[in-house]
Amino acid sequence: MTSNWLLPALLVVPLLASVILLVAGRRAESWATWFGVGVQSVGLVLMLGVLAEYKRNMSGSMQLVVDAEWVPELLVHFRLGVDGISLPLIALTSLLGWCAAVYTVRRVPEPGRARALVGLLLLLQVGLLGTFMALDLILFFLFFEVVLAPMWFLIAFWGSGERRRAANTFILYTVLGSVVMLVGFLIVIVKTGSADMVALANGLGEQMSGNAQLAAALLILGGLAVKTPMWPFHTWLPDAHTAAPTVGSVLLAGVLLKMGTYGMVRIVVPTLPDAMVQIAPYLAAFAVIGILYGALASYGQQDLKRVIAFSSVGHMGFVLLGISTLSVVGINAALFGNIAHGIITGLLFFVVGGIKQRTGTTAFASLPRGLYASAPRLGFLLGFAAVASLGMPGLAGFWGEFLSLVGAYHPAVPEHLFYRVMLVLAAVGMVLAAAYFLRVLRRVGQGAASQATMDDVAADEWLSWTPLIALTVVLGLAPVLVFQVTDPAVRMVVESVAGALP
């Protein structure tokens, strides 16, 4: 095929751009942000190219595959491809990257240094896109790690509050997770002699013995669980969010967390189905604990960003619940939940960032009341995003959660009764989610305005947020836009599990 250059180009363009910024020196400070927008726009165009070349009717199989031997000593191939599971995430990444770039043009967080900021964002983009494209375990791991340093810099240098501590916790915790994951990968590679994710998914992985599968699956899941983050491995997230600059939070919540759940669907479920069937109920239990815990903890937080961070724990709990069902509906729901959470929480963090920029704080104790009055449009967007996040039907947040429940009613694993209990508890979690978001709105949005007026949403903010707002509504009304892409691929994944079921 002639369009195979698209995926490498998606990686190379931001990489080259960040190198250009690196060597450009101080004179780049003035044009760096615009350069960033340009590069991200090119990325978006390339992404559209991928979407155009992508054959929806073949969503179950890898497309636009690139394969070149890279490090034969480690069996590493530079192998990229896209299918129904990864395409939505790649698109989401490109989009959020663009939004962040646009947002950055006029809003470089303290202490400036736009060149470095944009360069890091572009590098981050490389890692994120690469993770979703990689079809080789080691390559996946490498891209997984590429993300860390830029995010660490973002938090440690452009963050606020206890940013260093938060950045260090973030990177050390997640690196611990990814090293654990790596050990799992190495078990798979050693036992099967292959790092090819497609071959592994198509039956090679199943040839491993039961114990090896279980060990590998536990390790890989453990590593991915930190990234997701799954309760009780979530501690790094609230701190990181609280400290991170707006674009950092947006990308962290919007895309970074998805690498964990994506890895589960992409690697663990199809490669290690026997183990996955054994682990699934425990995963479900952790997921539901996460849902309830995230909601309760959110309610108890005294900082807007921490509330949203804990809400992410809850939302990712729904995604995990969907995965743990190992059913077509459940995994589709999980993938949809990934996208929806990315869009909505991205938007939430943008809005909260806007609030922070205007008021200088996100702590309830010092936030002025009455945002609805002082900045009605900003207030509206906060309300909109919160409502979308609490799972309002008709907006994107609903489908992932609801269909996770549907999936949990008929899990592919035999523990039906257990899953139904989990289902009810998860539904309780949905109500709790409403409670803490209403608390936020009541505290921040409503009430007599203690500050007469505030700058309302500016044009550049509208520009960078509108795609997210629009997608929240569009995907809420037509979830099929995602499902038609994910479903065939999910069916392939579930098929590989089917053989492992008792």
């Binding site: 890279w70 470095a116 810099f153 240098f157």
Partner: protein, 486 residues
């Protein structure tokens, strides 16, 4: 009395280096210019490289007939020789500035370092315990003089003394080990020893000898608990010498370890657990102690202790279901290659910075990205590589390569320790990297010295390391597959 017939071409790298040492010493005496000695040294090393590469397949000093010959080159030894030669060249470039500034006497410096290198080139090709231990001494002894050769640093003598005492103690222990092994097997040549070990299991006395033999290796690679000299000595020595100790001297140590473990591979139940514990303790301890270091060189010292722990891991994994073989050696050599590039790079940057500003403390690196963006970016890359974090891809990949060995052989605890150690390590590398990019202190101390003549050679050293690290990151096979390519 017939003198042993020898194939001098095979021995050429060692001879070239040893002769070069003399030439350098004389050249400095004649010209009274230290830089000339450096030039001679560089030329010597450049000459030695093609000689080293010329050896194809397995060759012995005595012609192919004598398997017990004292000197045998194989691709593995060539790879190790290359590491030594190239690394030394980079060290010389770094030292050139010191010599130009007359901080160290040029002729003696180059002479001593080349003497040491001639030993280091010899070590991987030795074929019996006698030659091995002598060669190791040739590596060590000049380095103590090098450490002490630092004018205007009152602690240099102390630094040298510590290394010296530690060294002779461990050499004595190893010699005793050799004596015991010789006494129990009647052999010193590796082939005979290997045959003897395959024929019978280890007797208690041989077991003791085996473990004691490892002492000198543990000292050379500064594995815990034979490490304690390293931080003190590195700190007291000039930066290039510290770099030499941490890379070339270590490479010699690992060469010896590879030979020993190969020879005694049938007795892996004796040495593998010891090496495994050594590896685990070294990784953890090195990283833990590095956590709170605030002096650049000292931090790098602890870091290189920890790195040595990683390099031990593949050999340690022979404790599990694994035979000694290319799967192990390639991992070790691959890591050594990458380690040489990134560690020398870090030292080179430290050397440049120390020379420009007199900075030794961490705090002095604050805002380096402002003052010298190139250096800062290079150091950040080296640190990332040492930490195993992209963009230091090669550092990450060699760690993966190393980690795969215990995973494959089922030594789980070692894999777990390595995982934890890597995370701890990340903390201090990152913390240092963060310093580089922070805003300079408002009350920044005035730079002590202006750029000096000759400091460009250190910059060249940085550039070479940077180029190597980047190249390896793009084409990791160059490092990981080095042995297979020779």
């Amino acid at each position: 009395m017939t003198i042993q017939s020898i194939d001098l071409m095979v021995l050429a790298p060692t001879i070239v280096v040893a002769l070069g040492a003399l030439v350098a010493l004389i050249a400095e005496l004649v010209t009274r210019r230290g830089q000339v000695a450096v030039g001679v040294g560089l030329v010597t090393l450049a000459f030695a490289v093609p000689f080293a590469l010329a050896a194809s397949g397995e060759q012995t000093l005595c012609g192919a007939v004598d398997a017990d010959c004292a000197y045998v080159v194989a691709p593995l030894s060539v790879a190790l020789q290359l590491i030594v030669l190239v690394s030394t060249a980079i060290v010389l470039l770094m030292a050139s500035s010191d010599i130009a500034a007359r901080r160290v006497p040029g002729g003696e410096f180059v002479f001593l370092i080349l003497c040491s290198v001639s030993g280091a080139v010899l070590v991987p090709a030795t074929n019996d315990l006698v030659t091995l231990i002598v060669a190791l001494e040739v590596v060590s002894l000049p380095t103590f003089a090098l450490v002490a050769l630092r004018r205007g640093e009152p602690r240099a003598a102390e630094a040298a003394l510590k290394a010296f005492i530690f060294s002779i103690a461990s050499v004595a222990v190893s010699l005793y080990g050799i004596a015991l092994l010789y006494g129990t097997t009647g052999a010193v040549s590796f082939n005979e020893l290997a045959a003897s070990t395959q024929a019978s299991g280890p007797s208690p006395l041989a077991t003791a000898g085996m473990v004691m033999l490892l002492a000198v290796v543990a000292f050379k690679i500064a594995a815990i608990p034979f490490h304690a000299w390293a931080p003190d000595t590195y700190q007291g020595a000039t930066v290039p010498v510290a770099a030499y100790l941490s890379v070339v001297s270590k490479a010699a140590g690992f060469s010896a370890l590879l030979l020993i473990t190969w020879t005694f591979s049938a007795w892996s139940q004796v040495w593998a657990p010891v090496v495994a514990v050594l590896a685990g303790v070294t990784m953890l301890g090195g990283n833990l102690l590095a956590l709170r270091q605030r002096l650049a060189v000292r931090l790098l010292a602890w870091s290189s202790i920890a790195q040595a722990g990683y390099i031990l891991v593949p050999l340690a994994a022979v404790a599990g279901r694994l035979e000694w073989g290319p799967g192990v050696t390639n991992a070790v050599v691959g890591y050594l290659v990458a380690y040489a590039a990134m560690n020398l790079g870090a030292f080179a940057v430290v050397a440049v910075v120390a020379r420009r500003t007199g900075a030794v403390d961490w705090a002095d690196y604050r805002g380096l990205a402002r003052r010298s963006p190139g250096l800062a970016v290079a150091l950040a890359l080296f640190l990332a590589s040492l930490a195993g974090l992209p963009p230091g891809l090669i550092g990450l990949l060699v760690k993966v390569r190393v980690l795969i060995v215990p995973v494959g052989s089922g030594v789980w605890w070692l894999a777990a320790v390595m995982a934890v150690a890597t995370v701890i390590g990340l903390a201090y590398y990152l913390a240092w990297a963060a310093q580089l990019f922070r805003q300079p202190d408002s009350e920044a101390r005035p730079s002590v010295a202006e750029p000096e003549t000759g400091s460009w050679t250190s910059i060249v050293a940085v550039a070479i390391c940077l180029a190597l690290t980047v190249t390896f990151s793009i084409a990791p096979s160059l490092a990981l597959g080095l042995v297979d390519r020779l």
